[in-house]
């Protein structure tokens, strides 16, 4: 059994509980223990305001995880990105390490640098693996066509991720999706940005950016979008309703978090996986799934 410090981030536990619920269910099924700790913001949103303070906030989380002897597991691509970048800076830049360490010390904290951080999906891919995931599938989702969405910071900047996946044509989440028997659609420009970071800055721009991927999904005939980041989820799920109202167009593409899809294939009920909290109606996809019951 593997144990991780479960870094939920700010958004998931408050606004995207279906993602959290399904992640916990799938983790339990795969014997992954998620330990809840009093983490605070990863630093990503603060980086634009004051990078040094953002890094200090970030490293507090590492100090906390280290005190429990655990590596960090995130469910948010932005958290994974910020934590990884700050961790790399701490390891590699001696000047900033010394500075941050002394600031942590004055707040009664210490960080030696032992904690690794990974996204939940990356851990599934690297530690559990596609083959073992297939063994956990009790209900083949054959016939379901989905389009994956990675969330920029899951693979970029590639320099920070040291060769994990591909920044232009990522494939790891597609492989995880296909372990359920569902078909993962291939489209050009797969790695576009969901626009969520701009929701508080310029909503029209953010929604227009989100619509790009919805158009791709519609053109490719996808039954659903599969996401691994709460911001992408908000942008495409709740955002989709706003896009439809604002731009007078109809999409109706359900947006599932990866563990929701995996959970369906593992035989969990839609209720256990928080499907009642999805904004775009999911009835269509649930009927399709129950129709192909193994």
């Amino acid at each position: 059994m593997s144990r991780y410090a479960f870094f939920l981030g700010c958004t998931t536990p408050v606004r995207v509980m279906n993602y959290e619920l399904s992640t916990r269910k799938v983790s339990a099924k795969l014997s992954i223990e998620l330990v809840d700790l009093p983490f605070t913001c990863c630093g990503y949103p603060i980086e634009s305001i004051n990078r040094e303070s953002a890094m200090l906030m970030s490293m507090r989380n590492f100090a906390l995880a280290e005190s429990k002897g655990l590596d960090i597991l995130t469910v948010c691509s932005a958290c994974a990105g910020a934590l990884t970048r700050f961790s790399n800076a701490f390891q590699e830049d001696e000047a900033s390490r010394t500075r941050i360490a002394s600031q942590l010390k004055s707040a009664g904290l210490e960080y030696k640098g032992s904690v690794k951080v990974r996204h939940f999906a990356r851990m599934l891919y690297e530690d559990i693996g596609v083959a073992k995931l297939k063994d956990a599938v009790t209900k083949d989702l054959k016939g379901l066509k989905v389009l994956t969405h990675y969330g920029c910071h899951y693979v970029r900047p590639s320099e920070s991720y040291r060769g994990f996946d591909d920044p232009e044509v990522p494939h790891t989440v597609d492989e995880l999706v296909e372990a359920t028997g569902a078909e993962s659609l291939d489209v050009p420009q797969k790695s576009v940005c969901c626009g969520a970071p701009l929701l508080p800055v310029d909503k029209a721009v953010a929604l227009s950016m989100a619509e790009v991927k919805l158009q791709m999904a519609q053109a490719a005939g996808a039954d659903a979008l599969v996401v691994i980041c709460p911001f992408c989820g908000i942008s495409y799920d709740r955002g989709q309703l706003e896009i439809e109202a604002e731009f007078q167009r109809k999409y109706g593409i359900p947006v599932l978090y990866l563990p929701q899809l995996l959970g369906l294939a593992m035989g969990f009920s839609p209720r256990d996986l928080g499907f009642m909290m999805n904004s775009v109606k999911v009835q269509g996809i649930l009927e399709k799934v129950s129709g192909v019951k193994a």
């Binding site: 939920l8 700010c10 958004t11 536990p13 408050v14 606004r15 509980m17 959290e20 619920l21 916990r24 809840d36 700790l37 009093p38 605070t40 913001c41 949103p45 603060i46 980086e47 634009s48 305001i49 004051n50 990078r51 040094e52 303070s53 200090l56 906030m57 507090r60 906390l64 830049d93 900033s96 600031q103 942590l104 004055s106 707040a107 009664g108 904290l109 920029c152 910071h153 970029r156 900047p157 590639s158 920044p167 232009e168 790695s191 576009v192 940005c193 626009g195 969520a196 970071p197 701009l198 508080p200 800055v201 310029d202 721009v205 227009s208 950016m209 790009v212 928080g274």
Partner: protein
């Protein structure tokens, strides 16, 4: 060229952009054709009195700001930009040029500065390793220091400084979580109080 950045539209969405000065120097006639000239009628063109020569050096001195001089204006960043794809006022290539020209107030006071989604697509593709998102972070940090902060970021900063998170976790949220069988979000802040005293934002 700079009109591409939308400056000529005089559309300060958030009202904190610096007003443009309008006294073009008659001495410089051919310093940078197409950008500088003495045509008083062209308000979208750069006025040499706006050039702040120390600005470039300040940007270069910051970690992440030291790569922009390698830019040869190929435009790969702009062609790759998902924001640019839907919003023509935004153009990373032009922004790099503006930094290079030392147009401090135009850059730091612009609402355009807050339109980068930090997706890192341009950084992956840049042939000169300019690291535009890192430059963007440097510029935003400088803008905040200079007193220009986007209102949404200002609000976010004050919540994070106080709560340690971008959303407050109140009783209602924890009640909803309990109903769903989720653990309550830990309220023990683990030295957040002491640490937050060291943070340089949201005060």
């Amino acid at each position: 060229m700079l009109h591409l950045l939308g400056w000529s539209k005089t559309k300060p969405i958030y009202g904190f952009a610096t007003p443009r000065q309008s006294n073009p120097s008659p001495r410089v006639t051919n310093f940078h054709p197409g950008v500088f000239n003495t045509d008083k009628g062209r308000k979208d063109l750069v006025n040499v009195s706006e050039i702040n020569e120390t600005f470039c050096r300040q940007v270069l001195a910051k970690p992440g700001g030291d790569r922009f001089r390698a830019c040869f204006q190929c435009g790969t960043c702009t062609a790759s930009c998902p924001v640019r794809a839907v919003e023509s006022r935004y153009n990373p290539r032009v922004l790099v040029k503006m930094v290079e020209l030392g147009l401090r107030e135009r850059v730091l006071g612009s609402d355009i500065l807050w339109l980068c989604s930090l997706c890192y697509q341009c950084q992956e593709r840049c042939p000169e390793d300019v690291r535009f998102p890192e430059l963007m972070t440097v510029l935003r940090n400088m803008a905040v220091e200079a007193g220009y902060i986007h209102p949404s970021f200002a609000k976010l900063a004050s919540i994070v400084a106080e709560q340690g998170r971008i959303y407050e976790v109140d009783d209602f949220i924890n009640m909803r979580r309990k109903q769903l069988g989720l653990p309550v979000v830990p309220t023990d802040r683990y030295e957040w109080g002491k640490l937050s005293q060291l943070l340089r934002f949201g005060k």
